[in-house]
């Protein structure tokens, strides 16, 4: 990529602040939970989705000598925003709240992480925005957390992990989607798992590389789930952002899903148009990681297969190591499309950014 393809004022839809350690969250718990954490020795909620020292977890030049990457506003501002001349960046905090078995503990952690983000990130750099962390273990509690912080316009979306206890289209999650639509926020479905099930349909893999590879099939499954359950028939204004999902798999998945819809639509009569059309209206995908074909000519063909220039939204996936330098836009994407991806498409995806 030539740096000239970058547009000033890009909106980065997926960056990852780290909670530096569990002590940093203590001011945001009540006495009961603070006591619980200290007396029971509750550990940090880092997860196996991003092993601390794995190469993908932090780019070498974004990895601090000590502690967690991207753990304070100053570091994030310098490394993620100044570097790419970003106007706005959305923080998706991947602290392992969704993995907890206790709904109550999860709700307390979700509130603490959100309050920590307000104090330590949003209040420190006006360019930062965030997705609301919710306890997906219990939809009522999740909605309560959304209602608690949604009046702050710097929360622009609601974060869920692609692999939770149930496929994300299932009706028990719908109160969350009703709240999202009510507050003009998309749902951000991010790579990762609550690890309540094996990450593949054939059990637990041996290697981290497989765990990360398996995120893409999980995104395919969840696109099927959102569409087949009729989420977008019920919530016609809702958009779902797939973050850190890759996007090159999307056309083939929609071809397959649409073919089966033609044969099996009697099972899901509320899906009254092709999954491909529904996806183009409601699904958005972040740019990084680009699981790109080997040549730019192939990428151009693939973008044609996508059938829409409105679906991809800019992301660096900072501090994860997906690319080097400022080589964030792959060869094969035109200047015009790059501008749409970096500015227009994010604005059209997040009503709170308009």
């Amino acid at each position: 990529m030539s740096p000239s393809i970058m547009t000033k004022g890009a909106i980065d839809c997926d960056i990852h602040p780290s909670v530096p350690n569990i002590e940093a969250l203590l001011p945001y718990f009540n006495d009961h939970w603070r006591d619980t954490i200290s007396q029971r020795g509750v550990h940090d909620l880092q997860t196996i989705a991003y092993p601390k020292n794995a190469p993908l977890t932090a780019r070498p030049d974004w990895r601090p000598k000590l502690g967690m990457p991207a753990a304070d506003a100053n570091t994030i501002s310098t490394q993620a925003l100044d570097t790419f001349q970003t106007s706005i960046a959305i923080c998706n905090c991947l602290y392992g709240v969704q993995l907890l078995m206790s709904e109550d503990l999860a709700a307390a952690f979700a509130s603490a992480v959100n309050d920590w983000m307000i104090a330590e990130l949003l209040n420190k750099d006006p360019r930062l925005r965030a997705s609301i962390v919710i306890p997906t273990q219990n939809s009522e509690m999740a909605v309560a957390e959304i209602e608690r912080v949604a009046s702050d316009p710097r929360f622009v979306s609601i974060l869920m992990l692609v692999m939770d206890e149930k496929p994300l289209g299932r009706r028990s999650y719908w109160p969350i989607y009703a709240a999202a639509q009510r507050h003009n926020m998309p749902i951000c479905v991010h790579a990762g798992s609550a690890y309540k099930h094996p990450v593949t349909s054939v059990g637990w893999p041996s290697y981290y590389a497989e765990d990360y590879a398996s995120q893409a099939p999980a995104f395919h499954n969840m696109v099927s789930s959102f569409i087949c359950e009729g989420v977008f028939s019920e919530y016609p204004d809702l958009k779902v952002v797939l973050a850190e999902s890759g996007f090159s798999w999307l056309p083939a998945h929609l071809w397959r899903l649409t073919k089966f819809w033609r044969g099996l639509r009697a099972e899901i009569p509320w899906v009254d148009r092709t999954p491909t059309e529904i996806a183009r209206d409601h699904i958005r995908l972040t740019l990084q990681p680009v699981d790109a074909p080997p040549t730019s000519e192939q990428l151009e063909r693939l973008m044609d297969h996508m059938g829409s220039d409105e679906m991809i939204i800019f992301s660096t996936d900072y501090p994860h190591w997906q690319f080097d330098g400022v080589d964030v836009i792959p060869d094969g994407i035109s200047k015009e499309l790059a501008t749409k991806i970096m500015v227009e498409n994010p604005k059209n995806t997040y009503p709170r950014l308009q």
Binding site: K166, Y207, Y208, C228, G246, K259, L264, T276
Partner: protein
């Protein structure tokens, strides 16, 4: 390559091209009549008492009710009675003759694989192997059998492979895709080793019950999600085989992915290449890019063929996979049968068309 949409009427009027159908599902007319002769009294009694128990709660039907009874075409019930796919004469007239099938690969489903009782699984697979020869391949030379193995018990599987190795009735070893553990894991390596020794490809057909939910995020509500999910399931098993180093450990292994679609393969290969570059220290036993290993070792059957709008997009995808890697299949007698004359509604070169419909299969199965 000359590309244009075919005129459907003109297509139908042409003399039918000879084809290979790499996914035909035969069924016994009656288990007591056709399978029991190959089971001992002990196992006949067991079957009568307990039935076949899978990692799935319903003994008399699938976890997700299918789109059609028996997942079958409505017109595939033999006039003389019995299940679709259970009458050779009717299969001949409705499919083999009518569609000019020169080679048909039999893939028996629900025939002893993935059964919880490992001993029963082994003897049932053995019985089905005898049955395929007695009722099908000995009567119809266009048909080839699949060597059924109780894959969750690799040592019993190896015994079965060694028993039949070299028997030309069998074209491949058959597994189902939803294994109990990712298929590349070392538990399953003896099966791959025996397959290489017997010089037979390993075919993995979508479906089965391995115990894990169909998605990494739990059980979906609908049959359509399970059906579409066979592609994701197959991607996971292929990822496992690549990153576990199976293809490097067994350099002559040939893997056929059956009834899981194919258009997803390029994007998966690109993703695995990228991850391999980033994580090589974790998986040093994988010494070549995943895309190269896949290109060398993996074939895919075509049905259910993806149908993009416009259809020409599929040509890009097939180019990226390689025309030589696809094996035509109809899935007869199932409801989502791909009609041979309409399955590839894009005009392609003669050489590619012949490879796609017949030659790739003849070469892969050494039947030239």
């Amino acid at each position: 390559m000359n590309i244009q949409l075919m005129d459907r009427v003109a297509t139908d009027q042409k003399i039918k091209l000879a084809i290979a159908d790499c996914d035909i599902h035969p069924a016994p007319k009656s288990v007591p009549v056709e399978i029991y002769p190959y089971l001992s009294k002990r196992w006949q009694d067991y079957m009568e008492t307990y039935g076949i128990i899978y990692r799935q709660g319903f003994p008399t039907g699938p976890a997700f009710p299918k789109g059609q009874p028996n997942a079958a075409r409505r017109d595939a019930y033999p006039p003389g009675g019995g299940k679709p796919g259970s009458d050779l004469d009717f299969m001949r007239s409705q499919h083999l003759d009518a569609n000019n099938v020169q080679l048909g690969i039999l893939n028996p489903l629900s025939c002893g694989q993935g059964v919880q009782n490992q001993d029963f699984s082994a003897v049932y697979c053995n019985a089905v192997n005898h049955w395929q020869i007695a009722e099908w391949t000995s009567k119809e030379s266009r048909l080839k059998a699949s060597l059924m193995v109780p894959y969750e018990d690799p040592s019993a599987s190896v015994k079965e492979i060694d028993l039949w190795g070299g028997d030309s009735n069998f074209a491949q070893i058959l597994l189902l895709s939803r294994t109990a553990e990712p298929l590349g894991q070392r538990k399953y390596w003896p099966i791959f080793e025996a397959a290489c020794r017997a010089n037979l490809p390993v075919a993995v057909h979508a479906f089965g019950y391995g115990g894990a939910p169909v998605t990494g995020g739990g059980w979906p509500s609908f049959y359509i999600e399970e059906m579409v999910g066979h592609a994701e399931n197959t991607q996971s098993l292929l990822t496992s085989m690549v990153f576990e180093g199976v293809f490097e450990r067994f350099p002559t292994l040939k893997l056929i992915l059956v009834e899981a679609g194919f258009a997803w393969l390029p994007a998966l290969s690109w993703r695995l290449d990228k991850l391999w570059n980033r994580m090589r220290a974790e998986i040093p036993h994988v010494t070549r890019p995943p895309s190269e290993l896949i290109r060398q070792h993996v074939w895919l059957t075509t049905q259910p063929m993806e149908e993009p709008e416009p259809r020409e997009h599929l040509l890009d995808t097939i180019e990226w996979i390689g025309w030589e890697k696809l094996l035509f299949a109809t899935d007869y007698p199932h409801w989502d049968f791909d009609e041979p004359s309409r399955a590839l509604p894009i005009r392609v070169g003669k050489e590619q068309k012949e490879a796609f419909f017949l030659k790739n299969a003849l070469e892969l199965y050494n039947l030239n």
